[in-house]
């Protein structure tokens, strides 16, 4: 990444002491390619879709991007740390179901359910992490197990407790409106309505970037993902780092889950299956390597933005809906290719 071979003809100083110009630093960032891809997708839809550039439309796109991005950011951190979480999609639904059903069954203030849900969801993250470091199988298999178990538990418990496949409405309970303000409200700027999920998304990006670039934990994450044995040898607490990363994903699932609950009042127990892939896709478009050790939180957020712009842009462009998935796939592939090309060029100019 930042390692640069000394240019021929210059006196050979220690490469680690080389000064890099801010421009070069920027060109070396993992998110650069995805930013270029995002700009390209934006310009494309600005040209082909009449209604895409309106402020209200952009607010819709940002909402779509934020609901993916809230999860894509912690998922990206986990991937930088070299692991996957296939349970991330249904965990969102689990988290929403817990708050809803706990509040309802206990006739408790909604915030109590929200708190219990946070602890329970973090516990699922801890479970994933502990299982991973205590046993042999790769995270792909372990979280696949969690994914299937959560899918079954979501349906099983909901039917057992509520009698139907969705939860009962908690919109008339105490604490609902304040919780709705926090997780599912709308902020009006000018005459455009922005969803509060955008704020959560930005906050997740800021915190994740700070952790990655400014803290010791951030170094640990890169080290663990770059080479686990080497990291362990130099004293990085590999187990704690990974458990922490899974808890980060769980926290994201909690935020998304609370949005799901407070936006719709009731939760459908079958939701969320398949979304885990979208989070991983967003992280990869944003420059995360599937092999770990490389990537950024901003990149994952931009990946989510590309996904949001593409999936809604196709609707704004009013293309034939039968071909929606094809266009989505083709656009994402093009954005990713552009991303890879830009990164290669950037590395070549170093």
């Amino acid at each position: 990444m930042s390692t640069t071979a000394p240019a021929p003809g210059k006196p050979a100083t220690d490469e680690r002491l080389l000064k890099t110009s801010p421009l070069k630093k920027f060109l070396g960032r993992p998110e650069l390619g995805s930013v270029v891809g995002a700009v390209a997708v934006f310009l494309f839809f600005a040209v082909v879709a009449d209604s895409f550039l309106r402020a209200a439309s952009l607010a819709t796109v940002l909402y779509a991007a934020s609901t993916i991005g809230i999860m894509a950011v912690p998922v990206a951190l986990l991937m930088i740390g070299g692991e996957f979480d296939l349970s991330a999609g249904v965990m969102v639904t689990t988290s929403a179901l817990i708050s809803s059903m706990f509040s309802y069954q206990m006739t408790a203030n909604v915030w109590v359910g929200v708190g219990v849900s946070l602890l329970a969801t973090l516990a699922i993250g801890v479970f994933n992490g502990v299982m991973l470091i205590r046993t042999d199988p790769p995270s792909f298999i372990i979280t696949l197990g969690t994914f299937l178990m959560l899918t079954g538990m979501n349906l099983g418990f909901t039917k057992l407790i509520s009698g139907t496949v969705s939860t009962k409405s908690i919109s008339d309970m105490e604490g609902f409106s304040s919780a709705k303000d926090v997780f599912a409200s709308t902020i009006t700027i000018g005459d455009v309505d922005f969803k509060i999920t955008i704020v959560w998304w930005l906050a997740m990006i800021a915190v994740a970037t700070w952790i990655l670039l400014r803290t010791r934990a951030g170094n640990w994450i890169f080290a663990v993902g770059g080479g686990e044995q080497a990291a362990r040898a130099v004293g990085v607490p590999v187990g704690r780092t990974k458990i922490g990363l899974y808890m980060g994903v769980a926290f994201g699932a909690w935020v998304s889950g609370q949005h799901l609950l407070f936006n719709y009042d009731v939760v459908q127990s079958g939701e969320g299956v398949g979304n885990e892939l979208i989070y991983i896709i967003a992280a990869v478009i944003g420059g995360c390597l599937i092999t770990g050790g490389y990537g950024s939180a901003v990149g994952a957020a931009v990946g989510a933005l590309i996904f949001g712009m593409t999936s809604k842009g196709i609707v704004y462009a009013e293309w034939n809906p039968d071909w929606f998935k094809f266009f989505l796939g083709a656009m994402l592939l093009l954005a990713t290719l552009l991303n890879a090309w830009v990164r290669k060029r950037a590395e070549a100019t170093k």
């Binding site: 919109s171 936006n263 039968d322």
Partner: protein, 329 residues
Amino acid sequence: MRTARTAAALIAVVALAAGCSSSGGKDDESDGGSGGGGKAVDTPRLKIAMVTHSGEGDTFWDIVQNGAKEAAKKDNVEFLYSNDKEGKGQAELVQTAIDKKVDGIVVTLAKPEAMKSVLGKARAAGIPVVTINSGAEFSARFGALSHIGQDESVAGEAVGDELTGRGKKKALCVIHEQGNVSLEQRCAGVKKTFGGAVENLNVDGTNAPGAQSSISAKLQATKGIDAVVTLGAPIAAVSVKAKEDAGSEAEIDTFDLNAEVVKRLKADEVGFAVDQQPYLQGYLAIDELWLYRTNANVLGGGKPVLTGPAVVTRKDVPKLEKYTARGTR
């Protein structure tokens, strides 16, 4: 494991310190009572398997099962339910029912070709079959006794008529599962009888925020949409949100019912719903097999028995509320 213990302790503390809600919740529940009951008949115990193409956690199939269970209780029937979205998986489940030597099989024919040979085996084994929900045209051909369901095209046409009657000009048909034949048939039916224009939109039904933003995007992009037709009850609630986001005046109308839709009908956020009475599909299928086994009765006279469409509006809400809450409508 310190983290886990701390978490457990925290949960306990939070739960103890819990403020209670003085409104809503379980304490506020009035006893709806579950209908039916009564003593079972004294015919011999039968075993009937139902195998559907349902995905996980679908309200609709939950209601079908509730109907089937109620009939099973009354008819002294042991009711076995299983489901698989994939045609091949569904056929395997039917095979396991044949292996178990059940006294009757209820199946859906969403993927008719996949079911053809296994239903032949059921017939060869002398097990009577009743088909429900979709696939009416294949039912008799595959040797089923009766078909109990809704004709999707007819249901779509009913929606088209209702929309025309309400003076709508441009409708959006939201397909929440791309490539599902019966959903396409519904939209095609709407198109056939509706006086105005119909546009289709594909959304991902298992991702509510994603579906919501897609529907608002469509409402923002296409001017003049004055009706949004959703093909499943959960998507109706999502569309209500999308409409608010887009600042649209469109009326939300939907296929199928659930408690949430009834609430929104009452609040005037949903114009009308077309119910295909899934409870009846489950109940009648079990009852028909019991009647056949105990009295050789056959329902329908070779024609499908239709359970819908029934148009439900705000004025039907009072009598429906308690039934949707207990999951039978």
